[in-house]
Amino acid sequence: MATIKELEALEELETGKKYSRTSLYKDAWKRLRKNKLAMLGLSIVVLLILIAIFAPLISPYNPIERIKEDSSLGPSINYFFGTDLLGRDIFSRVIYGSRISIEVGVIAVGISVIIGLFFGALSGYFGGLSDAVIMRVADIFFAFPYILGAIAIMTILGPGIVNIFIAIGILGWASIARIFRSSILTIKNKEYIEAARAMGASNKRIIMKHIFPNSFAPIIVYATMNVGTAIIVEAALSFLGIGVQPPTAAWGKMLADSMSYIDIAPWMMFFPGLAILITVLGFVLLGDGLRDAFDPKLK
């Protein structure tokens, strides 16, 4: 008995046509690849992750090591991005700073996605009282400006990277829950869900196997874009001094430290600022591209 692969190969030979099997995700990937901006975003994101992982190999200096005699130097061959007031290499600090940003982006958004998916599924699929309660709580979260909420939580929990994860993670769940809920509401009434129920599938199976894969696309898009937001919020918190604590290198903190010297040593502020800009841009471009890629109407 010939396997399916062999049959396909045979047909390809006969007809000269490539046999392609497409699913939603493969299709999306195909469309994403055609989108130059999205691919730029993806490259930035991938590069950034590589930089974060291999930071010790790339950075020429220890990011917290002070070289007193070399303080406040402009960019040069020795110090690509110059040095700061305490004589630390800004290039190394920017590279190490990517670790904080990526961690915050991924972990904090991961937390919001997990919480958001859980409550979104609960309220979208079961509806009724749980829906009402969850959505009203979400409303309360929406009532706070994002940054204000983050400041409030950080003040309660105290500074530190883990608390940043928690603060940003908790604040982000409401929008994820909303999106997932609405996405479930549309999928829930599709006939194939009814068909699955008529087939005897349990609630758990219907949610996990039938609703999830169909309603995941908007979550992926939103989460990707949200990574950018999370990175900005982390930078803002660190800038305000309630985020990552010194001497750890974080972009927001570097901005704050160099703010007063912007007229005499602009490089101290320029490079970390640029790093934030490029990173956020990367995630937003990728998210934007994903949104287009998942939209079947743009086929």
Partner: protein, 339 residues
């Protein structure tokens, strides 16, 4: 007598399903009773919104909650009342002993899974088969329902299939566990005529192979005439006539059934006049009058019809009608097919 009793595989007694909407209570199904015999095809006929589909969904307890509720009746299957079963037992039943084919094959398959995957699913859920075994079974099923190149198509996605092929896949999924009852809710409405015939042939063939019973819900009298053994005609949530196929087509005794018969084209008649539609529209199912619901559109309406709803009576053997004047039709006092 005992044998006849045993022959009944499903018995629905006085089923009532209401929907509680903002505008009032919609009595989508109101006091429907019927039974299904082993190996039989039962047709449920009626116009849109008469409660055919809700009847079918009620049997599987798939009425959308919390809007709809089954407010009364019994559905006896294998000695158990389905209305009293817990969710777990129901899940074991659905797709296993009783399965359903839906109207629109275009939307009834999950777009993110391969067809094979979906056929395997009910085997894995109910028979607890391993992936490899389920795959073998699934391939067999696809072959059985006549999917060409089924080995290759096994890994295709639903959007790569045509409507007819998808409906074949739906059928494969429905018969995967050799159910004793197959409920087909307008299985051919979304398909074109030639494919319709193929699908119906396929269902009939599989029915004989697996010795299951079929409930076919349709508004297509042609489908009923060819495939059903008995027919229940529904109007506004109530059964108005229930009998075997010959009685329904040749000796209809409810004015509504008669109206339906007059409104289809017939090739076997000498004189071909214009089609006779039933005048008027079906009533809103909210706040139904106490009188005969059809009376407003009925040519033969009498005073009694406006007082009370006529009960469903067995006017001759195995022929149930709910009309006060049915006797007159039977005795020929009123000519049925006069123009």
């Amino acid at each position: 007598m005992a044998e006849i009793e045993n022959n009944k595989i499903l018995e629905v007694k006085n089923l009532s399903t209401y929907f509680y909407t903002d505008d009032g209570v919609v009595k989508a199904v109101d006091g429907v009773s019927f039974d299904l015999k082993k190996g039989e095809t039962l047709g449920i006929v009626g116009e849109t919104g008469c409660g055919k589909s809700v009847t079918a969904l009620s049997i599987l307890r798939l009425i959308p909650q919390p809007l709809g509720r089954i407010v009364g009746g019994e559905i006896i299957f294998e000695g158990r009342d389905l209305l009293k079963l817990g969710e777990k037992d129901l899940q074991n039943l659905r797709g296993n002993k009783i399965s359903m084919i839906f109207q629109d094959p275009m939307t009834s398959l999950n777009p993110v899974y391969t067809v094979g995957n979906q056929v395997m699913e009910s085997l894995i859920v109910h028979r607890k088969l391993k992936k490899e075994e389920a795959r073998k079974e699934g391939l067999k099923l696809l072959e059985m329902v006549g999917i060409p190149e089924f080995k290759r198509r096994f890994n295709s996605y639903p959007h790569e299939f045509s409507g007819g092929m998808r409906q074949r896949v739906m059928i494969a999924m429905a018969i995967a566990n050799s159910p004793s009852i197959l409920i087909a809710d307008e299985p051919t409405t979304a398909l074109d005529v030639t494919v319709q015939a193929q699908i119906l042939e396929l269902m009939d063939e599989l029915k004989h192979k697996t010795n299951s019973s079929i409930i076919i819900i349709t508004h297509d009298l042609g489908v009923v005439a060819k495939y059903a053994d008995r027919v229940m005609v529904m109007y506004a949530g109530k059964p108005v006539e229930f009998s075997n196929i010959d009685n329904i087509f040749y000796k209809p005794m409810h004015p509504y059934t008669i109206g339906l018969m007059k409104s289809v084209t017939r090739l076997d008649e000498e004189k071909r006049g214009n089609l006779k539609p039933i005048e008027g529209l079906p009533p809103s199912l909210i706040d139904l009058p106490k009188c005969c619901i059809f009376s407003a559109r009925c040519k033969y309406v009498c005073d009694e019809c406006k007082r009370e709803y006529p009960p469903l009576v067995e006017i001759e053997k195995d022929h149930f009608v709910s009309c006060y004047r049915a006797k007159e039709f039977m005795e020929g006092i009123i000519e049925r097919f006069d123009n």
